[in-house]
């Protein structure tokens, strides 16, 4: 187990190194000049050169990358701005803050959004899927199945504003989405994120309804279920005590794969409701051609996905005793 984890983490680090090098070279090949923004309204060429020097932009690309790498462990100093403590993922010249602290600031928003949506997706998807499987062929099953087709076809950027218009603007049922730290006011945190959670989970829930249903139907045909039935166990206890366990394993696997997609959906959701999460940070960085920020967000995003996949694999081993990590 320990050696498995060590190997996985080491592998992840190598992948992240490669990605950071590629993105760094790609990004820095793009012509851009953050220096102009720090030069007063009437910008003298000498001042501009001085700022370029201050930002470390007058060095060769591989030296810049080396500084960036070292900065992650040792921190960096910028003449123009002061220090960027370790782990320094670079300094955003557009927003004038260390990239890492900007990401840390935004992290709770994106985590709240994706975690909450995950709960809705899994709880609601599995529940409806089980109901559908329990009542195969009956009206409930039909409703669950057909609404899942529509749900999967909806788009966040359509449903989001639409629900906001009806539920927030017109009926004033729920507050306008925003982020209130859970430490500040848990109730506000919940009510203000309700709409984003629902919107983000709509397109995903449908898949889980479908998957749960088909997995359950499959499990009910398995030998061990038949044995249990033959031994006189009621179909209700078979359904709720055995079959669902078997069904959960593939669903969890798929969920691990889906996390990356979910994070992508979070970007659109954040943009739709102007929540200041990582996604919104990335979109703003694209608009500003803020390369240090983009690089940082990319690396952190990649790291999160790689890490979560490791976690899912480990979890998998706990749920399914047949899986051995080695």
């Amino acid at each position: 187990m320990t050696s498995y984890l060590v190997r996985r983490v080491a592998g992840a680090l190598v992948i992240l190194m490669i990605i950071s090098a590629i993105t760094f070279y790609l990004f820095y090949a793009v012509p851009r000049d953050p220096a102009r923004a720090f030069c007063g309204k009437i910008c003298q060429p000498e001042t501009l050169a001085l700022i370029r020097h201050n930002l470390g932009m007058d060095e060769p690309l591989f030296v810049q990358y080396w500084h960036w790498l070292v900065g992650i462990f040792a921190g960096r100093e910028f003449v123009q701005f002061g220090s960027c403590p370790a782990p320094c993922l670079g300094y955003s010249f557009a927003t004038q803050e260390p990239v890492f602290s900007a990401i840390v600031d935004r992290f709770p928003v994106t985590v709240s959004l994706t975690l909450g949506a995950s709960v809705v997706i899994l709880a609601f998807g599995i529940l409806t899927g089980m109901i559908a499987a329990w009542k195969v062929g009956q009206p409930l099953d039909k409703i669950a199945s057909s609404s899942s087709v529509i749900g999967a076809s909806l788009q966040i950027y359509f449903v989001g504003p639409l629900l906001a218009f009806y539920l927030v603007d017109t009926m004033q049922l729920i507050p306008r989405p925003s982020y209130v730290p859970i430490t500040e006011n848990p109730l506000d945190w919940f009510t203000h994120l309700m709409l984003p959670w629902v919107v983000l989970s709509i397109i995903f829930t449908a898949n889980y309804t479908r998957m749960t249903r088909s997995q359950m139907v499959e499990q009910l045909a398995e030998d061990y279920v038949r044995t249990a039935r033959a031994k006189g166990m009621s179909s209700r206890s078979v359904f709720f005590r055995f079959a669902w366990r078997g069904a959960m394993i593939p669903i969890l696997t798929i969920f691990g794969v889906d996390l990356a997609t979910l994070l992508g959906g979070a970007i659109i959701t954040e943009q739709t409701f102007s929540l200041h999460g990582i996604g919104e940070l990335a979109v703003r960085a694209v608009q500003n051609t803020d390369l240090p920020m983009l690089l940082g967000v990319t690396i952190v995003g990649a790291a999160a996905i790689v890490l979560l996949n490791i976690v899912v694999d480990v979890l998998y081993a706990f749920i399914d005793p047949r899986v051995r990590l080695s």
């Binding site: 012509p31 851009r32 000049d33 953050p34 102009r36 720090f38 030069c39 007063g40 309204k41 009437i42 910008c43 003298q44 060429p45 000498e46 001042t47 501009l48 001085l50 700022i51 201050n54 003449v79 123009q80 701005f81 002061g82 557009a94 927003t95 004038q96 803050e97 602290s101 900007a102 600031d105 062929g137 099953d141 039909k142 409703i143 199945s145 057909s146 609404s147 087709v149 529509i150 076809s153 639409l162 218009f165 009806y166 017109t170 306008r176 925003s178 479908r210 088909s214 102007s274 200041h276 608009q287 500003n288 051609t289 803020d290």
Partner: protein, 597 residues
């Protein structure tokens, strides 16, 4: 996996949902009705200022500031806005938003005093008056008031003032204005940092003289009769030598004003408390009614608008420096008389315009045709109308500049949507009925739409428009080179102080043309250059104003720019506050007279 009937069910369901959604819009949509009502409650904006800017006397410069009616002390005022202040080190403050907050803890030699009728007066802030010059603006003498103290109780001396100017030459101070720096070194033509490197290696700047603790004398390298306006910029605010932490000073400046910073968390919040060592008797412009300020950042204008409209809890005592009413909520706000009672509107010093590259479009008639055909009205509508975007401009100078004269050479106020027929006539006169023009723009969703309108309007007059989208991050680099390949490109300007010299000279003095300089039109007319020199030498402010207005007319006659807007501001604040005012110099809300009701 699904039977046919089930799929038919979902098919029907989606069609039904579509129908429902479409039916729902019957209740929801439509922006028609409120429009007429909107116009009714909207006060027309006047083109103010003009002669309302004046230079005050020593009596105007003495404290305390006149009481605000109904004001009382105490309480906490909240400020909610989009961004954190990017710079607070006075030397690095140029943006109005940073300036607005700096007024609470940074003082300069001079400052602007506003009265209720909207008049602006330049008065002494740290200085007893607005400074004196005996040689038409080459030497300036300022005397400091008695009883001035830093937040730790030590006196503010002329040495501190001298030091504040010296440190502007340091390598980490690049964002602020550099007028004074250029004027204080021996040769204004050479880079100022080559001539003096700042005080950190122990060298002093000998063009600033401090004969005693109260007197500062500046020896400039040229005639600058409005230098007393220059030093009103926050960029020339006072910094104490004993407390200078260099780069770190940007986050925690040392206070000379009524409040001091007790905490500042980047991008989140900033808290101010009373500075007990500030003496109101020395200050002609600042009140300090509230005990505390709590400032919160990271809120888009949609969110602040929403919160001001809801007016709940602490938001009752909240204002915003910068965030305007979100354009998509403007209609709603205008139609709500209760909200309009706690709204502010006014003309900011910002003007926007489209530069016409006179190096490439050399025929003045073609340039005139561009202005004549320009879809000013459409562009205004695309950006939220007069109240959100601005008044359609017809001149170079903003109405907030001393000496502004209103004129409309191209009939833009009569035909704001463009006059293709008149433009065609001009093009015929130029002998070029179908010129090709290259329009470069910043690629944002709004600018893309503006481009569509421009293409359409110029096309009607016979122009062939080639639109070149530029990346927002490199826009100014692309239009910066003198030999750029574009004919028309957007620009914006605010005079650094409200006289014609900073409104006109940097942009239209043909001798200043070089890469990345603000003369983006590349206009180089000897008669205009001469007129600029003459206007610069006029000592009397009102006379100088007239001279600048004449130059304004000359530039417009050359059709060097298509003026776009005199930008307007429209904002809200909470119902529990009084004394919230619009600051026409910064173009946003002012905190100086605020009190908790």
């Amino acid at each position: 996996m699904r039977s046919h009937s089930r799929r038919i069910a979902s098919m029907t369901a989606v069609l039904a949902a579509g129908a429902l959604a479409l039916a729902g819009c019957a209740k929801g949509g439509g922006g028609g009705a409120p429009q007429s009502a909107g116009g009714a409650s909207q006060k027309p904006l006047e083109n103010k200022a003009v002669s309302a800017i004046s230079v005050g006397t020593a009596a105007d410069s003495t404290g305390p500031a006149p009481e605000v009616q109904g004001a009382k002390s105490g309480g906490t005022v909240y400020m909610i806005d989009r961004d954190d202040f990017s710079h607070l080190d006075p030397g690095r403050v140029y943006v109005n938003y940073n300036s607005s907050v700096s007024h609470l803890f940074t003082r300069q030699l001079t400052a602007y005093k506003h009265d209720d009728s909207g008049n602006i007066k330049l008065v002494g802030d740290l200085a007893t008056d607005t400074g004196t010059t005996t040689d038409n603006g080459k030497t300036w003498k300022f005397t400091l008031k008695d009883g001035l103290k830093w937040q730790d109780g030590t006196p503010i001396t002329s040495g501190d003032i001298k030091y504040s100017f010296e440190r502007l030459f340091a390598d980490f101070i690049t964002e602020g204005p550099d007028y004074a720096e250029t004027w204080l070194v021996p040769d204004p033509k050479k880079p100022f940092r080559d001539q003096y490197k700042g005080p950190y290696d122990g060298k002093e700047l000998d063009t600033i003289e401090t004969p005693d603790d109260k007197t500062v004398i500046f020896h400039l390298n040229g005639l600058h009769p409005d230098f007393n306006f220059t030093v009103a910029m926050t960029g020339y605010g006072a910094v104490p030598k004993a407390q200078d932490t260099k780069q770190k000073y940007d986050k925690q400046p040392f206070s000379s004003g009524p409040y001091k910073i007790v905490s500042h968390i980047t991008d989140k919040s900033m808290d101010l408390e009373r500075n007990e060592n500030w003496d109101p008797k020395t200050d002609p412009i600042r009140h300090a009614y509230p005990d505390k300020f709590h400032m919160e950042f990271g809120l888009q204008s949609q969110q602040t608008t929403e919160r001001f409209m809801a007016d709940a809890g602490n938001d009752k005592q909240a204002f915003t420096f910068h965030n305007p009413v979100a354009p998509e909520r403007t209609q709603e706000v205008l139609n709500d008389p209760e909200l309009m009672k706690r709204s502010l509107q006014g003309l900011t010093p910002f003007t926007t315009f489209y530069n016409i590259n006179t190096k490439r479009i050399t025929d003045v008639n073609v340039r005139k045709a561009i202005i004549t055909a320009w879809p000013s009205k459409q562009i205004q509508q695309l950006q939220g109308g007069e109240i959100s975007a601005g008044k359609i401009a017809t001149t170079v100078m903003s109405p907030t500049v001393l000496g502004y004269e209103a004129f409309d050479l191209y009939n833009k106020l009569q035909k704001p949507e463009g006059d293709p027929e008149a433009a065609k006539a001009l093009l015929a006169k130029a002998g070029n009925p179908n010129p090709t023009v290259v329009y470069a723009y910043n690629q944002t969703p709004t600018q893309e739409k503006v481009t569509v309108a421009i293409k359409e309007a110029l096309g009607k007059a016979g122009f062939k428009v080639v639109a070149k989208p530029l990346n927002a991050g490199t826009y100014y680099d692309a239009i910066g080179p003198v030999d750029n390949k574009y004919d028309i490109y957007w620009g914006g300007w605010a005079a650094d102080w409200p006289t014609g010299s900073t409104a006109i000279q940097p942009q239209y003095d043909g001798r200043l043309i070089s890469d990345n300089q603000p003369n983006y039109t590349h206009l180089n007319m000897p008669e205009i250059n001469d007129a600029i020199d003459k206007a610069n030498a006029i000592a009397d402010a009102a006379e100088a104003g007239k001279a600048w207005a004449a130059i304004d007319r000359q530039i417009m006659d050359q059709a060097a720019i298509v003026p776009e807007f005199y930008q307007t501001y429209f904002g809200l604040y909470g119902s529990g506050l009084g004394g919230v005012k619009f600051d026409p110099v910064e173009g946003e809300q002012s905190a100086l007279d605020i009190f908790v009701k």
